[in-house]
């Protein structure tokens, strides 16, 4: 019972959660066959990085606002990346009529 009660106060728990999120993100990026699916999995990788920053700012940092501001910047960059990525995907779809990575292969040797 003390184990469950103290779970939220241990740094390793948060780091393990972030590591699992990162692993699932890598798994998704390698597994996906469409550009949109790859971008969704990439968001998971960014979320894992943000969780690590939040964990270190909560447990180790003398100035916790630094890690939180870095997390906010990760969110802003992720939003910009999503907007640009989506418009590139729409442009690719207009040229190829497909967003599958196997068919967008004109430069393949």
């Amino acid at each position: 019972m003390e184990l469950i009660a103290g779970l939220a106060d241990r740094m390793e728990v948060y780091l393990a959660l972030a590591a699992m999120l990162f692993g699932i993100g890598i798994y998704g990026v390698l597994l996906r066959r469409t550009l949109i699916g790859m971008m969704i999995a990439g968001e998971l990788i960014l979320a894992a990085a943000a969780l690590n920053f939040m964990t270190f700012s909560r447990f180790l940092s003398p100035d916790p606002s630094t890690g939180r501001i870095f997390t906010l910047f990760i969110m802003g960059i992720a939003a910009a990346e999503a907007a640009i990525g989506m418009s590139i995907i729409i442009a690719v779809y207009r040229n190829y009529k497909s967003v599958e990575t196997d068919r967008v292969a004109d430069l393949k040797g």
Binding site: I24, Y27, L60, A83
Partner: protein
């Protein structure tokens, strides 16, 4: 009931949030239909916002909900509607360099290695806190120490908006 102490209840809620986060992430990575993957992504980010709440930062938790669930997921839904990828085909016939069967071991290897690393590292003892790091401190830091970065990221966002407009507009009369 020993379960019903405040700490025990908080631990149970934490476990629930962690399970929600991981389940949502797994759905987002593996669902065959992309709208389901986006729904899983939104679920996972809701769980992650709860985890951020446990990390003493309700402000970042609110921003997580607002930006990720409210903006990024909706943008992905729009892209799915415009590009119409349909159902992913069976993954056995993939012709790229990395076979799909390798993706699970690779992802598991990364996660396992990072967990081992986090367990075995001797983290330095927590330093004395200069401030609690609440919303007031975040606001002060953003407008003093990090004001330059704050301005730069607004320029990045502006360029992203204009670039997205230019890219999506090209080829249309």
């Amino acid at each position: 009931m020993p379960m019903l102490t405040p700490d025990g209840l908080a631990g149970l809620i934490f476990i629930f949030l962690a399970v929600v986060t991981l389940a949502g992430a797994f759905i987002a990575a593996t669902a065959l239909r992309l709208p389901r993957a986006v729904a899983g992504l939104a679920l996972g980010f809701c769980g992650l916002a709860g985890i951020f709440y446990f990390l003493n930062s309700p402000f970042v938790a609110l921003m997580e909900l607002l930006i990720y669930v409210g903006a990024v997921c909706v943008a992905i839904v729009f892209a799915i509607m415009l590009a119409d990828p349909g159902v992913e085909k069976a993954r056995t016939a993939r012709s790229t360099a990395i076979p799909a069967a390798l993706s699970l071991p690779v992802g598991a290897l990364f996660a396992w290695g990072l967990i081992i690393l986090a367990r075995n590292t001797m983290w330095p003892a927590p330093a004395a806190k200069l401030n609690p790091g609440d919303t007031v401190d975040i606001g002060h830091s953003l407008l003093t120490t990090y004001s330059m970065v704050f301005e730069l990221i607004s320029i990045v966002l502006l360029m992203a908006i204009i670039g997205a407009l230019v890219l999506a507009r090209k080829g249309r009369d």
